[in-house]
């Protein structure tokens, strides 16, 4: 088990590393259940230009290229945390999850999950974690999901009583009792994902890695799966790392997010603080008694929307108070609200950055 643990300081948004050997009380700080240090993964590939001629050329000469899928990332996740793992397509999220689940060997770096090195693929480790990939399934296509659950019972060596209890509980939570006897191929995508979740959780894993579990699902199914994950995390104290392209999933479930871009760590901290990194603005929504000319408003900030009686401005944080005072004095205000810039915009900004920020800055 690693001797270092992390404590997150929300006020400064930093990670404080503490050495356990220096007599720090363990109960004050959670143990890092997932510890990632300098983790990197390179893939070898080759390019093929367009056309038959280049295909023939490729038969005898291939220029080998290296892609840095994941580049020296560090983070720690404590027991019971529900962390969002975000990044644009090809950022290295799935590769990281695959290293944490032992599917892939890293090129460099260290990782420990529950004290195990994942890629050593120890049986005891495998019995305590689970990975769910939205685009891959483990259920037997032509059989009812129940048969696949029973197979997992035998693979995970579960006692009859524990298996039945977990199954009943999960079936109840996901409301799929009537579907247990239906062949998997006849289920809808949403129903199938629920069954996949049951198959993945039947052994009550302590660590769950979820790779886009709601991909392709309709809004209602997404919501149901979100609700289920929330309850599961709360009741079982399971540690969950979730990747999703749906902001609703992340906002609803994760207080903390780790963002990677081009294989590098871009942010690690509270979801609500994403914008603090770079944004010096606030969104101010104003409602007027009478129509105010656009020109009279632009001196206070950048116009985001103008609809005569209601206007949205992006204003500088630094002199917000003074400017609002002026607005209240000069303009026929009925009502106003001050909001943070939507978190999606902050995340999109981090996605678009050409280079991931250095780790220190990210923290």
């Amino acid at each position: 088990m690693c001797t270092r643990v992390n404590r997150r300081d929300d006020s400064t948004n930093t990670v404080v590393r503490i050495n356990l050997s220096r007599c720090i009380k363990e109960e004050e700080i959670g143990l890092a259940l997932i510890h990632v240090e300098g983790l990197s993964k390179q893939f070898e590939y080759y390019k093929k230009e367009l056309g038959l001629r280049n295909s023939i050329k490729n038969l005898y000469h291939r220029e080998r290229l290296i892609k840095d899928a994941v580049c020296n990332i560090n983070f720690d996740i404590e027991e019971g945390e529900f962390v969002g793992f975000l990044g644009p397509n090809g950022a290295g999220k799935t590769t990281t999850l695959k290293m944490l689940s032992g599917i892939l060997y890293p090129t460099a770096g260290k990782a420990e999950v529950m004290g195990y090195v994942p890629w050593e693929r120890k049986k005891e480790f495998k019995k305590q974690f689970s990975i769910v990939m939205g685009q891959k399934n483990q259920l037997w296509w032509d059989l009812p999901a129940h048969d696949s659950f029973y197979l997992n019972k035998c693979i995970y060596e579960l006692e009859d009583k524990a298996y039945q209890e977990t199954l009943d509980e999960l079936v109840d939570l996901l409301d799929v009792k009537d579907l247990l006897g239906v062949q998997v191929r006849r289920l809808s995508l949403g129903e199938r994902m629920k069954m996949e979740l049951i198959a993945a959780l039947i052994h009550r894993p302590k660590v769950i890695l979820l790779d886009e579990p709601t991909i392709g699902l309709d809004i209602i199914s997404q919501k149901k799966i979100r609700e289920f994950l929330k309850i599961y995390n709360k009741e079982k104290k399971a540690t969950i790392l979730l990747t999703s392209h749906y902001m609703n999933d992340i906002e609803d479930l994760c207080r903390r997010v780790v963002i990677i871009n081009q294989g590098k760590l871009a942010y690690d901290g509270d979801l609500s603080h994403v914008n603090d990194l770079f944004s010096q603005s606030k969104i101010v929504k104003l409602n007027f008694e009478e129509v105010v000319a656009e020109k009279a408003l632009t001196k206070f900030g950048t116009m985001k929307s103008y609809e005569g009686l209601s206007v949205t401005l992006e204003m500088d944080k630094q002199n917000l108070k003074e400017k609002l005072k002026q607005i209240l004095e000069v303009l026929p205000i009925v009502d106003f609200t001050i909001e943070d810039i939507p978190v999606e915009e902050g995340i999109a900004y981090l996605y678009q950055k050409k280079e991931g920020m250095p780790d220190e800055e990210a923290k």
Binding site: F43, G102, I103, K123, M133, Q138, D142, L151, Q183
Partner: protein, 266 residues
């Protein structure tokens, strides 16, 4: 011992699941049996031609040859039912990344990948047909059914099955590096057909290659040779040793392949 019991239980479930899944598609199941019966008929014709001409190969009478063809036919059924269906899927698992979830299960990935499926339709005609040929050949040869013959025959069938698993898994393991293996597959399928006839039909060089380099002749030649009392102790020892060696080799290469696995993009 506990682990063996656990694996047997899981294997039983694999077989049960496959049977249930195959019963879902009745027409496919029946068509499979019919197609395989056709193949068997072609093989039987081949045996009949050999038989009716009364040809003898390397001192083997046509009845003895029938014993070899029968063993080969039966072994083909076993190979098709137990392994072929699994082995063919390995390059697919590598290419589309479906191996990912198998790796995360607390069970040997090699077992999961190579034993997960069991085909019922394909082997039935071959096993029945092969067994019939063996019985006919054995009876016509007027060789007594002694416990030693039975144990020897079944024992070398078992080493043959394990050797089949080990040798014919090797080309599929290549897919971890090359992704597609259809070229090598064609070669290995052609190698399998070499056992269609007793090894005595081939030249000495081919016999040595097929016994010591890629020991395919040890798969279905040893069992009939035991019945004919023509298997020397040296050959027996080598057949058992080669089986163990090739099994270790397949385990080792599978382990290496798993380290090299780069998964597929999700």
């Amino acid at each position: 011992m506990r682990e063996i019991k656990r694996y047997l239980k899981i294997y039983k479930l694999f077989i049960k699941n496959c049977l249930m899944a195959q019963m879902e598609y009745r027409i496919n199941f029946i068509t499979g049996v019919i197609v395989e019966s056709g193949y068997l008929l072609a093989k039987a014709l081949y045996a009949i031609v050999v038989y009716s001409t009364g040809v003898s190969i390397g001192g083997l009478s046509s009845d003895a040859i029938l014993l070899f063809i029968g063993t080969y036919t039966m072994m083909t059924g076993i190979y098709m039912g137990l392994f072929y269906v699994n082995f063919q899927k390995i390059p697919e698992y590598v290419r589309d990344g479906s191996l990912d979830l198998y790796i995360t299960k607390p069970i040997s990935t090699q077992f999961m990948v190579t034993m997960r499926y069991f085909d019922f339709g394909m082997p039935i005609p071959s096993i029945i047909g092969g067994l019939t040929m063996i019985v006919i050949g054995w009876r016509r040869l007027n060789i007594g059914i002694t416990p030693l013959h039975i144990i020897g025959f079944i024992g070398f069938m078992l080493t043959g099955i394990l050797l089949t698993y080990s040798i014919f898994l090797l080309p599929q393991i290549l897919s971890f590096w090359t992704v597609k293996t259809s070229g090598v597959n064609d070669i290995s399928n052609a190698l399998w057909d070499f056992n269609n006839m007793p090894k005595g039909i081939y030249s000495k060089r081919v016999q040595q290659f097929g016994t010591f380099v890629i020991p395919i002749f040890l798969i279905s030649n040893c069992s009939p040779l035991v019945i004919l009392d023509k298997l020397s102790i040296g050959e027996s020892v080598w057949a058992i040793s080669a089986t163990i060696l090739f099994f270790i080799l397949s385990r080792f290469l599978f382990y290496k392949a798993m380290r090299n696995y780069s998964s597929a993009s999700s």
